[in-house]
């Protein structure tokens, strides 16, 4: 007897977001990448539409990351000094689709670069590579409020993804992103309510919901992954049930978390890579749309995984 699948019909749909702008659209990217748009849970193709694959972005820094473990830093050590070369290496050697530049050097404790210096870097980067760009601040709230608007302006029209906005500090970044035609990352501390509140606040400030990406904050495998997983799953279930305020794509900073894990720092190279890859694949099952990763072999594994499931 044939087994009949029980199919769920969801009323909601995850918002669709476009990353990057081509020349016709006023930017200079070679192509655009779309995220979101699902009408069902990950990989449940018979149930609904899943128009776009989960995407992987390579994380690069504006300064040499001194605390990256040996297994990771040896891959990029020769390009650490030059973010442009680092970016080009990702594009040429690893076929990166998206680059994520973290402006760690702007942090008062790590170089304290000026907003002008960082804006200049972004301008240069946009000239050297033609991929869609994710721009991450250094994490120092006051400094980011100076640096990110400058970078946003420098990348005006390129439809980047800029972050992060937080519940108590979203106004400056939202205004900049709104003015310069970018998308925003809304970061919340593993809390579905705060995630939603922040989306409401940002959209109340005039930025349309389809330009917001949720950073739910994650933990690596063995370091609270399941908390992040359940929050993302709950948010996605609400989204599919019709709650527009959480019906937005997720970005997960996988590399940053996975390479902090003790197993990734002191284990064999293989363990470290698998740690990053497993963290990423689990989050893809929870609904991640964009994953920021570090090790090229981990990216390769996850990429294969996506392709296999995509069938």
């Amino acid at each position: 007897m044939a087994v009949e699948l029980m199919l769920e019909k969801w009323p909601g749909k995850v918002g669709e977001l476009t990353l990057g702008a081509t020349e016709q659209e006023g930017g200079s990217r070679s192509g655009v990448i779309k995220l979101g748009g699902q009408t069902t849970l990950p990989f449940l193709f018979p149930e609904g539409k899943i128009p776009y694959k989960p995407r992987l972005a390579f994380e690069i820094w504006d300064i040499a990351p001194l605390d990256w473990p040996q297994d990771l830093s040896q891959v990029y050590a020769h390009v650490f000094a030059d973010p442009y070369l680092w970016a080009e290496k990702c594009v040429r050697e690893y076929k990166a689709e998206i680059l994520c530049i973290k402006l760690q050097g702007a942090h008062p404790d790590f170089g304290n670069k000026t907003p002008e210096q960082e804006a200049e870097l972004i301008r240069g980067l946009l000239k050297r590579v033609d991929l869609p760009l994710v721009i991450l601040g250094c994490g120092d709230r006051d400094k980011d409020n100076l640096v990110l608007p400058a970078c946003s302006e420098a990348a005006k029209g390129e439809r980047c993804l800029v972050g992060s906005a937080a519940q108590d500090n979203y106004k400056t970044l939202t205004a900049a992103v709104l003015a310069d035609g970018h998308n925003i990352i809304a970061e919340s501390p593993i809390d579905i309510n705060i995630a939603k509140q922040l989306n409401i606040l940002i959209s109340d400030s005039g930025l349309p919901l389809e330009r917001i990406v949720i950073n739910p904050t994650i933990g690596a495998l063995g370091y609270g992954l399941e908390y992040a997983y359940s929050i993302m799953e709950r948010a996605r279930l609400s989204a599919l049930s019709g709650d527009k305020m959480v019906a937005l794509p997720f970005i997960c900073l996988v590399g940053q978390e996975a390479w902090r894990a003790k197993e990734a720092r002191v284990g064999s190279q293989e363990t470290s890579i698998i740690w990053e890859a497993l963290t990423a694949t689990a989050l893809i099952q929870a609904g991640a749309d964009l994953l920021v990763m570090r090790h090229p072999q981990a990216v390769e594994k996850v990429s294969n995984y996506i392709d296999n499931l995509w069938g």
């Binding site: 108590d168 106004k171 809390d191 579905i192 309510n193 509140q197 409401i200 400030s205």
Partner: protein
């Protein structure tokens, strides 16, 4: 002629005679003189003049702390073991045992005076600064049901009796004679009398010519003869009811005969200097002298309020015979100086929920030394007698339909139910709605901004203060209006942050951005009245705690807010509440406005009903036994509900469909 009764003309003559039998008593070093009836005790005369004499035992002649020295005059006193031979030679008497039989001059030695009086005016001023503020007149608590529902039978009743003189035919004892006369008027099968009163009877009846006033107290199921006084004082019978809150103490003076409320006052609970929430205070109680200090903080406040009330209404403290207190469980423990430690230790068991009626003096409350003190029975460690009183006064326990009582206080208490069931929860909401912990907050008393409107665009503010005076600060309902209005005109984001708009009313300060509600030139204080982002954050947390407690409780019972037909809103944060604004900020669920009933201080209203009716006391008892308690702290969904409510009006906007911000 009925037995024991005289014709009117004779009675009047005799009364005149009694009135003539008054003596002057002068107290030194105060040099205060008072005229009292023959047969009264020195202690009672002292209380009438406002000379405060220690009386720990409540006039039983046991503690020996009310020693006075008789300079001249004649008294009759029972022997007391507390007085040494040497003292007796010096003319020392116990004020509570010595009855007055001529004009007297009495010296009150320093060691017999009560502690409060020992403080210099400077010390008192210092203690009364800040939170040690004077009490203020506030609106009287309304009772939703009306006062008429319970039979009038106050905690203390006074009866004027003219006892038939004993003769050879009718020679039952004095005490039985008293009982017999009482039973002719009231059907009281069981009566008790303390030994101290019995000792007095023989002498008192005869010196008062068998015309006496007896005060009967309802005490734990029996009726006690609390006090026997010479002459007719039955028209002077007063009682007090109190709502002892974590942040605010409200008290009311009631004429027990006419049921009339004479005055209502509120003051901050002085315990706040030992911690603003009950947990901190319970911890403090374990420190050395901690319990003592907390106990004194509350009774000092109450005694001071009693003093002000009786002075303003020119009432003799002797005629205040009972006091009824409603408070949360911790407050009642501290009032009675009972160790509260176990309230905060799992499994959270209080020492007593049903406290027997005691002498007020035992708790250190200064009314008539033999007066009674009763507490409204509580439910659990975190749902106290204030809730039972609240339920009683709004009639929740008699409703056919579902109702909910939401008490917006420092401990936000919620009771859901009807005549079939009652379930309660308690949320730690903080004192913001009572005007504490917010920069320009104040109690809902004279000068508090309580209604406010902001015009969109130019942000012009128009407000209304209690008593229509110049503003002194903002009370709870004022804050509700301000935040709702700021949201409406776009001054606030839904997270409670003030938008950066260039306007003379908006400025940045050390506490974050602030909005000027009233400029100092229009205020009664020498500073601008402002609301800061920190204040808004505090209010937001308070409202989130209350809303999420209510919604968790409703969810726990598998119900929906829409099924609740009556929503009683209680709290001493104002004399009025704009329901629309309270819904706009997400404090109350978005339901038809006609379902909301603002009941003010329902705990005080309930306490007054119980003070005035023993039937109401029995009802409160029944309510307290009926209410079950739902512990929110172990409910996994509560934290989620709370975070979702930390938003204006709520993260889930579908729950507030009528709001368009």
């Amino acid at each position: 002629m009925p037995r024991g009764q005289f014709p009117d003309w004779l009675r009047k003559r005799l009364q005149i005679q009694i009135h003539m039998e008054k003596y002057k008593v002068t107290f030194y070093p105060d040099n205060k003189t008072v005229e009292v009836e023959k047969g009264k005790t020195i202690l009672s005369a002292a209380i009438s003049t406002g000379v405060y004499i220690n009386s720990s035992c409540g006039g039983d002649g046991v503690c020996g702390r009310c020693k006075v020295i008789l300079r001249s005059g004649q008294v009759i006193s029972q022997p007391a073991g507390r007085i040494t031979l040497e003292e007796r030679k010096r003319g020392v008497y116990l004020a509570c045992l010595a009855t007055i039989h001529s004009d007297l001059e009495v010296e009150v030695p320093a060691e017999s005076r009560i502690d409060l009086e020992k403080l210099s005016p400077q010390d008192l001023d210092l203690r009364l600064k800040g939170i040690y503020s004077d009490s203020e007149d506030v609106e009287s608590a309304v009772s939703v049901l009306g006062e008429e529902i319970f039979v009038h039978s106050p905690l203390a009743t006074k009866l004027y009796l003219e006892l038939p003189l004993p003769d050879l035919e009718d020679k039952i004892s004095d005490l039985e004679r008293l009982y017999r006369q009482i039973r002719r008027i009231q059907d009281i099968p069981i009566m008790q009398t303390g030994l101290a009163n019995i000792r007095r009877l023989g002498e008192l009846f005869r010196s008062a010519d068998w015309k006496i006033t007896v005060t009967l107290g309802k005490r734990n199921g029996t009726t006690e003869i609390v006090l026997v006084e010479p002459g007719d004082t039955s028209h002077k019978n007063f009682g007090l009811c109190f709502d002892i809150g974590t942040t605010t103490i409200a008290g009311q003076l009631v004429d027990l005969n006419s049921k009339r409320v004479l005055g209502t006052k509120a003051t901050y609970n002085k315990q706040a200097s030992f911690g603003s929430d009950i947990i901190t205070r319970i911890i403090y109680a374990q420190e050395q002298d901690g319990l003592e200090k907390l106990h004194h903080a509350v009774i000092d406040g109450m005694n001071q309020m009693i003093q002000e009330l009786i002075q303003e209404h020119k009432i003799d403290l002797n005629d205040v015979n009972c006091i009824l207190c409603a408070g949360n469980t911790t407050m009642v423990h501290l009032l009675l100086r009972v160790e509260p430690t176990y309230i905060r230790r799992a499994p959270y068991v209080p020492t007593a929920n049903f406290v027997p009626t005691i002498r007020a003096a035992e708790a250190g409350i200064k009314i008539n030394p033999r007066g009674l003190l009763s507490c409204v029975p509580g439910v659990s460690s975190y749902v106290g007698g204030d809730v039972s009183a609240g339920v009683l006064s709004c009639g929740l326990s008699d409703l056919e339909d579902l109702g909910i009582l939401i008490d917006i206080g420092t401990n936000g208490e919620i009771v859901l139910g009807n005549r079939d069931f009652l379930i309660s929860a308690s949320a730690s909401a903080g004192p913001a709605f009572e005007g504490s912990g917010v920069s320009c907050g104040m109690r809902a008393s004279r000068g508090a901004i309580q209604r406010l409107k902001i015009t969109p665009g130019d942000f012009k503010v128009s407000y209304n203060t209690i008593g229509e005076t110049k503003p002194l600060g903002i009370c709870g309902c004022g804050y509700i209006d301000i935040i709702a209005q700021m949201l409406r005109v776009g001054l606030l984001d839904k997270n409670g942050k003030i938008n950066l708009i260039k306007h003379p009313r908006i400025r940045d300060s050390a506490d974050g951005r602030e909005f000027i509600v009233a400029f100092k030139n229009e205020c009664a204080i020498s500073a601008d009245i402002v609301i800061s982002e920190d204040d808004i954050e505090n209010i937001k947390r308070s409202k989130a705690a209350i809303y999420s407690a209510a919604s968790s409780l409703v969810k726990h019972m598998n119900l929906d807010f829409a099924e609740i037909k009556k929503i009683f809103i209680a709290g001493g944060f104002g004399s009025y509440l704009d329901i629309d604004n309270a819904i706009n900020i997400g404090l109350l669920p978005d339901l038809e406005r006609s379902r909301f009933i603002f009941v003010g201080n329902s705990s005080l209203a309930g306490a007054r009903q119980i003070l005035l009716s023993y039937e109401a006391m029995k009802k409160a008892d029944e309510i307290a036994r009926k209410i079950t308690y739902f512990e929110l702290s172990v409910e996994p969904g509560y934290m989620d509900e709370y975070i979702a409510a930390l938003f204006f009006p709520h993260t889930d906007l579908n729950r507030f469909p009528s709001i368009k911000i």
